[in-house]
Subunit: 353 residues, 2 copies
DNA sequence: TGATATTAAGTTAACGTTAACATCCTCTCC
DNA sequence: GGAGAGGATGTTAACGTTAACTTAATATCA
């Protein structure tokens, strides 16, 4: 009907002027608090409808000094890890009346910072960060924490005296995965997804090394293989190619491993492809263990033995800890929660009877 | 060091007072515009650092009347469809300096509305909506569009004279998938994932029906099966169980189909499980086609023939169309773009030679 | 040498709300 | 019938910024 000119949206004051009342009266109608006569309320609501009035959240939140919104920053969104976390966080928050804004940062410091800033700029009441850590990003995060924004980090290194942390016990998960292979009699066990030089950062690799050590198995650095030449931090699905290449390299060794522990399920999937391509069978020739128990793990051939980390609980915990800080219920020292992982044994390590 | 009391954050005015200049001068330093002497700039920056000053985005955006932020509402976040879309949108936007806030709404009208409202409350400059449509949600979306917020919908019905739409050609995709099966000689072809009664809403089902019609094959309603008793709109992964149950139902028919077209890849995966469980082989006994070409499709046994829809392009287009509306470059009639799908033939329909 | 830029500030008035307080009117109830 | 309670408004002053304008000092040039 009416020409759709992009007119300026009506404000609360406009509505008030139209109805012939004070802005405050309109505000009371909109927010449903304070005394307003039925007659006035109706007139106001009518005008609101007619004028397509929508309240301006910026002004509102500016005045109220809170947004009831939490920001979540995740890296690779296509990783089931992230999506399960996001869902759990959202659910816990919505239960308490908080909204969730999610920002994606594809594993670059620049984008991390952009995401942090844009969320903080919108005055989110708190921040949950689940990206991989990097120096510049962490620096900005520290500043934000310093400025008083409540923060919880998930599955990620970060030290700050007012920032809580939640993570899975990646060390122990890696340990158990490796132990499982050792228990099956394997002596030459490879690790795919990161080079030996990353051992200080990567808990799963540390767990692997610890399990070998505990059982008196020597560490063969040639059996630990990541992507050569570059950083090992790449988005989820693309680690599949790392797994594939890594496995090829392991298979070409003079004495190849009889089992491999892959850094995550995607890597494991890539490794499986390489094994099949070489005409070898799983688990008879090579046993494979993954990590994360993504939906993929059920559908590989054979189904993948993997380590499940409790994403849902991590999300819930993160949300709860953050809300506690936001509402100021407690003002404790930074807290760190580490949650147990669970080994899920499937046919990529043990043939079905 | 200092007790970490949650003090009120410093404002621009606080900084100005500390340095002994006007607030405007501090603003100029922060935003890097206007003239400021090197000496003053340094003093201000020093104070900014010392006081942990962060600008208040609410106030800033309120004054500037824009946020350079776009909101994206998606349903099931664990669906690769959504995540690919989100990534493409984010990339296109960040290229133009816009931020992206993502809200998840798990397929409920209440959550749709909550997501729309929370984004609009934060005065996003525009909205991209990719949830399944529902009556109440659409009503609110109309109101928001009426109030002048630029909106683009993706892969979803919605009619409004200022709302653009992008989608894949689901009808044609469904048609080609079915045609492919017909070309292979199949005459009894099932559809899994929605009941016959949903045909008016579901383009993929319409394509299936059209292909049958074109080749003179009769429609057997018993071969079209969804989840019984409930709505067919469920989150991605859980359609796996629908596929499983649906296939079981089809297999128990007196005269079972020789091929099925599943509404999406998850449904197809469930169907495959049921076929295997029945001791039948794919594609010899039953051929299976999916839809979406999710990463899963490559890893099923056998790999899944499926229809790929160009998610990345849909995301890019949506972002571009929205930005055009936001910047007011054009104020056209609502535009609708429908993008071609591509049939990807794998071994779930054609045995490898 | 005056006229005109340029640089470096400061001042004012919003942006659209709402908390806090003030005002006035109408009932109750002892 | 006067005190007190409650209902229905209005007024004022922020929330923290910045656009637009003003002022004033210094530099530049014909």
């Amino acid at each position: 009907m009416s020409r759709n000119v992009r007119r300026k949206p009506a404000t609360l004051t406009d509505v008030a002027a139209t109805v012939g009342v004070a802005p405050m009266t309109v505000s009371r109608v909109i927010n449903g608090n304070g005394y307003v006569s039925e007659e006035t309320r109706e007139k106001v609501l009518e005008a609101v409808k007619k004028m397509n009035y929508r309240r301006n959240g910026l002004a509102r939140n500016l005045k109220r000094q809170k947004t009831e919104t939490v920001g979540l920053v995740i890296g690779d969104i296509s990783n089931p890890f992230s999506t399960e976390l996001a869902n759990a966080v959202r659910e816990s928050l919505s239960f308490r009346g908080y909204n969730l804004f999610i920002c994606i940062s594809e594993h670059s410091a620049k984008e991390d910072i952009a995401a942090f800033d844009s969320l903080v700029d919108h005055n989110v009441d708190g921040l949950i960060v689940a990206t991989r850590s990097n120096e510049e990003g962490d620096e900005r995060l520290s500043e934000i924490a310093d400025s008083g924004v409540p923060i919880v980090v998930v599955g990620r290194d970060f030290k700050h005296d007012s920032v809580d942390a939640v993570s899975a016990d990646n060390f122990n998960g890696g340990f158990e995965a490796t132990q499982h292979l050792i228990d099956l009699g394997h002596k030459r066990i490879g690790f795919i997804g990161a080079g030996f030089e990353n051992r200080s950062r990567l808990k799963r690799l540390q767990g692997y090394l610890a399990a070998l050590a505990k059982h008196g198995l020597s560490v063969d650095e040639r059996l630990i293989t990541g992507r050569k030449g570059t950083s090992d931090d790449v988005p989820g699905y693309s680690t599949e190619s790392i797994g594939y290449e890594g496995m090829k390299r392991l298979l070409s060794l003079p004495k190849r491993p009889t089992a491999v522990f892959a850094r995550n399920d995607f890597t494991a999937v890539g490794a499986i492809s390489a094994v099949k391509e070489a005409g070898l069978s799983i688990p008879q020739d090579i046993a494979v263990v993954g990590f994360d128990d993504t939906p993929l793990a059920l559908h590989t051939m054979p189904p993948l033995t993997t380590v499940r980390q409790p994403m849902k609980i991590q999300g819930q915990l993160a949300a709860e800890m953050l809300l506690r800080r936001i509402t100021g219920e407690v003002e404790p020292e930074a807290e760190e929660k580490i949650l147990d992982c669970e080994l899920i044994i499937r046919e990529s390590t043990v043939s079905q009877v």
